[in-house]
């Protein structure tokens, strides 16, 4: 029997799907080990966040406050989270494999002397877990052999926790040795967008090198994106060329998405790109090269010049409405 502590990450005081998915996976793990599932939210002025979290069927929510947690930094958060796990007797710590979870959880694992599994996509009944390796070309079935375990979960692979009950919120003063802190938050340059978040959208339209420049993303792709109410993604080639911001990159080393509908426009379908989108429910490819590998994973493939097809598609979608 092990109790589970879920790290509920928030970005500047809002929860994203990341927190709820981590909770969902945490509850599964707790049920499996016969322990209880608690959640932790760290920061300053997080009362409202903790209350919100308490609605998702956990046993207890720990609201961990400390001036050093005002902004996310890996060392302060690792100290506070691992101290909390020890104090509350939680042998399993779970979080999302997001940019915060990836940065933080390995440090927590070291502090707790726990084995760590990152980016898992399945939890099996026998205690093993599955994680993709080699850009998703080889699925590893693994088990953590240490008594304490730290696990990061792939957000597209688990259901978010559903609202149920009302847990108790316990305020906890964080244990942080401030003298040991080596990282200082300087600033966050947010990619401003009114569109849904890439990892949460039902529809994602991604553009690749085939778009040729940033201007075409705006004038050709974005009208379709917005008509569909979609999020916009991109291939690495498009990001590297500076057509769109970095955080739109979908793939092995970018974001992993699994929307209802993924439309790849002018993207060849390199394995690193496929690793980030091939679990989408329906995949559409628009590419002028009929040999492009993207067609091998597409449910619907259109061999066409995107500069003609994309505006046409926007018109056709508008007519549906």
């Amino acid at each position: 029997m092990s109790n589970v502590l879920v790290f509920a990450e928030h970005q500047h005081k809002t929860f994203s799907k990341n927190a709820l998915v981590a909770l969902g996976a945490g509850k599964t793990l707790a049920a499996q080990s016969g322990g209880e599932c608690h959640a932790a939210v760290l920061g300053t002025g997080i009362g409202a966040l903790a209350t919100e979290l308490a609605k998702y069927g956990v046993k207890k929510v720990f609201a961990v406050e400390h001036a050093a947690l005002e902004h996310y930094t890996a060392d302060a958060h690792a100290q506070a989270l691992s101290a909390l796990a020890e104090e509350k007797g939680c042998d399993i710590v779970v979080g999302a494999a997001s940019s915060i979870g990836k940065d933080l959880l390995p440090r927590v694992a070291v502090r707790l002397g726990a084995g760590m599994a990152s980016d898992i996509t399945e939890i099996n009944g026998d205690g093993t877990m599955v994680r993709p390796t080699y850009a998703g070309n080889a699925m590893a079935t693994i088990s953590i052999e240490t008594p304490r375990k730290v696990i990061s979960v792939r957000v597209t692979a688990f259901e978010p926790a559903a609202a149920e009950g009302q847990a108790e919120v316990e305020n906890v003063a964080a244990k942080i040795d401030e003298g040991a802190l080596k990282i200082k938050f300087v600033g966050f340059n947010e990619t401003k967008s009114d569109r849904p978040a890439l990892t949460e959208a039902k529809v994602v339209v991604s553009g690749g090198r085939g778009l040729k420049n940033g201007e075409n993303f705006k004038t050709v792709l974005e009208p379709l994106v917005d008509t569909l109410g979609a999020a916009m993604g991109a291939s690495r080639a498009a990001v590297d060329a500076g057509f769109v911001p970095n955080d739109l990159q979908v793939g092995q080393t970018g974001k992993v998405v699994a929307p209802e509908l993924y439309i790849a426009v002018g993207i060849s379908g390199a394995i690193q790109h496929l690793a980030g989108m091939k679990d989408s429910k329906v995949i559409v490819a628009i590419n002028k090269d009929e040999e492009a590998p993207i067609f091998q994973v597409s449910d619907y493939g259109l061999v066409a010049d995107l500069f003609k097809a994309v505006p046409e598609m926007k018109e056709a979608v508008e007519k549906l409405k």
Partner: protein, 251 residues
């Protein structure tokens, strides 16, 4: 400034990866191996820092099979000064890699450890963070830019994170892990390759480092991912939109 750079031998990112039928791993026959692309970016960054600051030393380290010499020679040919290969057979867990580098850090006393943010074989993205915690150091992961403060006592690292770019200031010594857009690595020049042959490449059996190699994470089997079938080709945009509406029901 002394910079330690970690470099892993991995399959060529363009190679087709196939799982062995017995589920023990991937097929490695005729597979080309390279320096992990993220490690290559870390090496490049170290060389640029050296070129800018002068007087710096760039030391490469790899943990793996004897054949990883090839990848270290590649790094030396790019311009690194010397290399250390920690000899270990088979699968070395990320935690053991971090522990091995921790020992080398104690021997070498670098001001900075540069690593790739993830190895494209195991895709774990944990070693740099684990190492930072072991050493009690700061970290700047997923770096797309590194700037040193005037006194070099700290660095400002721009990080590629969800929703944008974040800047953090880390005290040195620190661990920085490279993301794709930190730089574009150079190719080794012919004179570089000639020189690399004479550069020091020291080998240390992992057992000599005296680290705990107990199994933390056990791999039971490797399986191919569920296959996705190619669907249909459509002839026109109208047909596509109709099918998405009536058949797939996603718009």
């Amino acid at each position: 400034m002394k910079i330690l750079v970690a470099a892993k031998r991995v399959p060529d990112p363009n190679a087709t990866i196939k799982v062995r039928p017995d589920g023990t791993g991937i097929v490695t026959d005729n597979l080309k191996f390279v320096v992990n692309p993220f490690c290559e970016i870390a090496i490049e960054e170290a060389l640029r820092i050296k070129e800018k600051q002068g007087g710096a030393e760039v030391v490469l380290v790899s943990i793996g099979d004897k054949v990883a010499q090839e990848q270290l020679r590649t790094g030396l040919a790019m311009g690194a000064d010397r290399a250390i290969l920690v000899l270990a057979e088979g699968n070395v867990e990320p935690i053991a890699v971090a522990r091995a580098i921790e020992k080398l850090v104690a021997q070498e006393n670098p001001d900075l450890v540069l690593m790739g943010k993830q190895a494209i074989d195991d895709d774990s993205n944990v070693v740099g963070q684990m190492l930072a915690e072991m050493l009690g150091w700061g970290q700047g992961t997923f770096a797309s830019e590194i700037k040193f403060a005037g006194d070099k006592g700290s660095a400002v690292v721009t990080r590629e994170v969800d929703g944008g770019l974040e800047d953090v200031e880390v005290k040195l010594p620190a661990i920085i892990t490279a993301d794709l857009r930190l730089n574009e690595p150079r190719y080794a020049s012919l004179p570089g390759i000639m020189k690399a042959r004479k550069k020091e490449l020291k080998e240390i059996p992992i057992a000599d480092l005296g680290i705990d190699q107990g199994v933390q994470v056990k791999t039971h089997k490797i399986s191919p991912p569920p296959a996705r079938q190619a669907g249909k080709r459509v002839e026109t945009v109208q047909q596509l939109v109709d099918l998405l509406h009536t058949e797939a029901k996603v718009i």
